[in-house]
Amino acid sequence: MKLPLKLTVLAAALAAGCAISPEADRQLTEARAAYRLAADDPAVQRHAQVELKSAAGALQEAERVAAEGSNSDLVEHNAYLAERRARTALSTAQAREAEAGIVAAREERRRAQLEAREREVALAREETQRAETARREAESRAALLEHEKLKVVREETAAAELAAEVKGLHAELPDVQAKQTARGWILTLGSEVLFDSGATLKDESRRALDNLAQFLRKHSERGIAIEGFTDSNSPKDAGQRLSERRAQAVKFALVQRGIEPHRIDARGYGPSFPVASNETETGRQQNRRVEIVINPS
């Protein structure tokens, strides 16, 4: 049993010679800490699996050799590699995170720019539309105003012209009354001017009818109503018929002078609507009449 004893002593001496130095021990502790730090980092788990695995390999080797307690240099070497690789894993993960951050920041900025541009475009479009609407409204207001103004001017002019014409007409027909009413101008001709008796026009009425026809030709847009009236002396039905026939006779005379029949509305009212008393001869004479109503265009 002497030889084994010697061998044991020799092995112990050798082991002691290569025992783990404080330097190797310190390096191993550092490697463990660095590895733990990297392995616990979720970013490393995400981005640096390969580097972490390589660190783990070196650390296992360092632990294995340290457990054998035989080679401090090899322990220190592997612990050093483990520590460097663990830090490499950590740095890799951080670099990858920063890269992802850059991509996200750029994307965010691009999106914000796009949104800002879209907002600007929408705003500009709205502004344009508002301006266009305002312009159109102003235009149509101006057009409407112009139209109204023209209409008023036209109406005024037409009214003035008509008044002048009617006055002219009146001047040509001394026996005619002319007055302006809500229905338009009304020319009143005494029946004696137009008729002797019955519904046959007198020759003397020709000039008055010529003038009236000329006036109607000039004012082709206007229609007229011819309304016959009698006094209350004749029986009501007879007066009614007479007034109608007289109105028709005037219409016929005007149509003969080239006036379109549809422009002339001839009616008789008999003794209705007297303009004076039927008690006196003067009044009755005034009531026997033909009224020519010139429609306001």
Binding site: S70, N71, H77, R84, T88, S91, I102
Partner: protein
């Protein structure tokens, strides 16, 4: 008895010489060369360590201390990788900061 013998063998093996670690050296050189232009600005300390280790590995190779050279080369590569990624991280984080400042 067997266990003691194993420890003995292991202790001897740890000190044994090996073949020249050509591929380890090559990848260390490549990694240091790759890190140098970018790390000079953002991770000069880490780069300096890597370059120093590689130089020592080259010396060890010349002297035929292959095991020592292999370990130094492995460490130089790990240092260079760290220097490179550290500089990348610094650069990227700065870019992110700038990106956020634009707003």
């Amino acid at each position: 008895m067997n266990r003691i013998a194993l420890i003995f063998v292991a202790a001897l093996a740890a000190c044994a010489t090996t073949d020249p670690p050509e591929s380890t050296m090559a990848s260390a050189r490549t990694m240091v060369a790759q890190a140098r232009p970018v790390a000079q600005q953002n991770a000069p300390a880490e780069l300096a360590v890597a370059q120093d280790k590689l130089a020592r590995a080259e010396t060890a190779m010349q002297r035929g201390h292959y095991e020592h050279a292999r370990m130094l080369a492995e460490e130089a590569e790990a240092d260079a990788r760290l220097a490179w990624i550290t500089s990348e991280r610094v650069r990227t984080e700065r870019a992110l900061q700038e990106e956020r400042n634009i707003r």
